[in-house]
Amino acid sequence: MSRRLPEQHPSRRKVLAGGLAGLGAMGLAGGLSGCGSPLAAGVAGTPLNPDSVTFWNLFGGGDGARLQTMLEEYRKQQGSPDSLTAATFAWGNPYYTKVVLATLGNKPPDVAVAHATRATILAQAGLLEPITEDLLGLAGLSSSSFTKSVWEAGKVGSSYYTIPLDTHPYVLFFNKQVCQQAGLLDGNGKLAPIQGKDAFEAALTAIAGVTGGAAWSASNVGDTSGSWRLFQTLYWQMDGATDFLGDDGQELTVNEELALATMAYIGDLAKRGLLTPTVDYAGAGTQLYTGKVGFQTQGEWEITTAQSVEGFEFGMVPIPQIFDVPAAQGDSHTFILPKMDRTDAQKELAMGFVKSLLDQSLTWAQGGHVPALTATLESAEYKALEPQADYAAAAEIAKYDPPGWYSGSGSTFENTVGSQIGLVQQQLATPQQALDAIKVQLRTYLETPSPVAGTTANA
């Protein structure tokens, strides 16, 4: 026994895996569909199918429907339904936790979707493959194929980690019928430009006269991200606004005076009955579609939902400049390659998949998002899309969430700040109470050194 060299014999683990694979092939996969069975592959720890791309995303609702069309197209291009295994998970923190755990467990998807604001945190944690020009070259792309600001958003240290797909600003939806009656449309059925606080409030008052209730719906119940988007949009419209967080989330650098003013404005409009005080995500849309309000502020991706409402006529524009400068909260969807040992073939496969989806940017843009691929953004087809082209400018004024290890789309930071703003809108907290609660709840995060920082260097 003792003389045997361990290398000459299969390790216990290999024997076990082999035996289980054999069992899997005989007993399990035999009954299913050959060696591609997820169960057998899972038991044996082998890749599902070397020619198949696994893809994780967080697209629900209208986005999800649009994505399915694009994935079908990829399958058609590959000529095989098995060429892709796509999974959609619950949006926000749970999704990112899954990506982190799968990557740490060395079973990540080949390609995943991440918000630009969250991808940088994953990159800091050493969980992502850097996106080099060589890698982009595999798909016939280069960094100059994308809008510069969106490409730069994926930078950590001196490397880039994201392949941008789009920008998604918070925009204004309007009900044409209601706005027509309120006298807010021009001759072409578009919303006449609104600029300044007085003009905006006059428009809201006119709508309220038509609906007999609220004028503007913005979801704040169970939608902390929604409340944050509204705040970030209005806050950045004021001269003197500073990032909410500084030093990668270790300092509170928000301009408190302007933050209080922003919250006071939201609370005040709700109190005057112009803005819905208590409405959830789906309800905010329903109110617009049924003409109970004339305006809804929401991410542009809700275009697919709005289009699916029969007989509903609507338009979309960037959120009017109410204060000093135009601004709108936004973020970008990007593709990331979670870290794992990749063969050249795997890299090519992953990039080929990304390329296929990017090539369908116009389809994606029909779902509301502003494409990151400059070729699509500048194409005549995109410029002819309505109402998409009407608000494309909003992407240029998009304000991303402040950088920080607990910040970004659907993050703890958004949840913390957004929920207090929601309470101000509900008249359940004063702006000062809300700000105090935000400060108390963020304190632990401000004081805790980033648990992901420095990992990149060690990796």
Binding site: N93, Y96, T97, V100, L101, L104, A125, G126, L127, N220, V221, G222, T224, T278, V279, D280, G283, T286, W405, Y406, T412, N415, S419, Q420, G422, L423, Q426, L428, A437, V440, Q441, R443, T444, Y445, T448, P451, V452, T455, N458
Partner: protein, 311 residues
């Protein structure tokens, strides 16, 4: 205890063989326990030890190893965190909101259902049915009921002329909403246990009491309640422990909101551990919750021992 001490008595006639027999018994016993013990060690004891160890380190989810030594810093952080104390309080608050109604209401409906002569199966089914549904389903149902403006509850309120309340969106009501959903969901289990207990009480006792002129209330007060005492103690303990472990409904119905007004111990631990990637700090919070649950379990055990001695 009595059955175990009584067991060796017959073998007293062959004293030499007794120890060996006992040893083989023990070996067989261990063998039977082994599969369970293996998984118990692997998935319960080992992680618990890891939890205690990592609570003293700055363990990060995304970095290998335990990370730098933190001493009691994670504990100090938890004691200094306002949201830790509020989440502990919310856990307790939820336990207070759910345990008494779940015990009292299930007793009441069990007594009522037990009096039904015909079609009792319907009541048993009706009260027990929600219990077989998964928490995700329950949460969806109740989120729909409590939807502001368009939900069933605001609709009912408007019907009777009240202004609609957004139950889950109001920091002072959200926990009540979760508690109501939980009570509706889990009452069936307690109900079935009480019903089984009720059917064990001999009818003669009630007949004798009735002959002596006891009112129905007196029968419940002096026969039913005392004879169901053991069931009640069991239910109270199970209920307290289940309520301290509250997670699903909060996670699915309010995500701990509005703000942190329904954040409970386990959602805080999950957030710190898996969203913030701070396993060390989450472990410290887990150890503290672990201590609270042990203290409650021991206190209850002591109380029961005292009541048994006095009985």
């Amino acid at each position: 205890m009595t059955s175990i001490t009584a067991a060796p008595a017959p073998s007293a006639t062959t004293p030499q063989q007794a120890p060996r027999a006992r040893r083989t018994d023990a070996k067989a016993g261990w063998l039977f326990v082994a599969p369970f013990a293996f998984f118990y060690l692997l998935f319960l004891i080992a992680p618990t030890i890891y939890m205690i160890v990592s609570s003293f380190f700055n363990t990060s989810l995304v970095q290998g190893g335990l990370g730098s030594f933190a001493g009691f810093a994670n504990y100090a952080e938890m004691f200094g965190r306002e949201d830790f104390w509020s989440s502990m309080w919310h856990t307790l608050q939820f336990t207070i909101y759910t345990t008494p109604p779940l015990v009292v209401l299930s007793f009441v409906i069990a007594v009522l259902a037990n009096r039904v002569q015909r079609g009792q199966w319907f009541f048993r089914l009706a009260f027990f049915l929600p219990y077989v549904l998964p928490s995700a389903t329950i949460s969806l149902i109740w989120v729909y009921i409590f939807t502001p403006d368009t939900g069933l509850w605001p609709w009912l309120e408007q019907l009777v002329g009240l202004s609609p309340t957004a139950v889950l969106a109001d920091p002072s009501l959200a926990m009540v909403g979760i508690a109501i959903a939980t009570i509706w969901w889990t009452i069936g289990f307690n109900f079935v246990l009480y019903l089984a207990g009720l059917q064990d009480i001999p009818r003669e006792l009630y007949e004798a009491a009735a002959t002596d002129g006891a009112t129905p209330w007196q029968q419940i007060r002096f026969i039913t309640i005392p004879l169901l005492g053991r069931t009640t103690t069991l239910l109270v303990l199970l209920q307290i422990i289940a309520s301290l472990k509250i997670f699903d409904q909060v996670y699915l119905m309010t995500q701990g909101g509005p703000g942190i007004s329904t954040q409970v111990a386990l959602t805080l631990i999950a957030n710190v551990g898996f969203t913030d990637n701070r396993i060390g700090a989450a472990s410290a919070a887990s150890v503290l919750l672990f201590i609270v649950i042990i203290v409650i379990a021991v206190a209850r055990q002591l109380m029961e021992r005292r009541s048994e001695r006095s009985a």
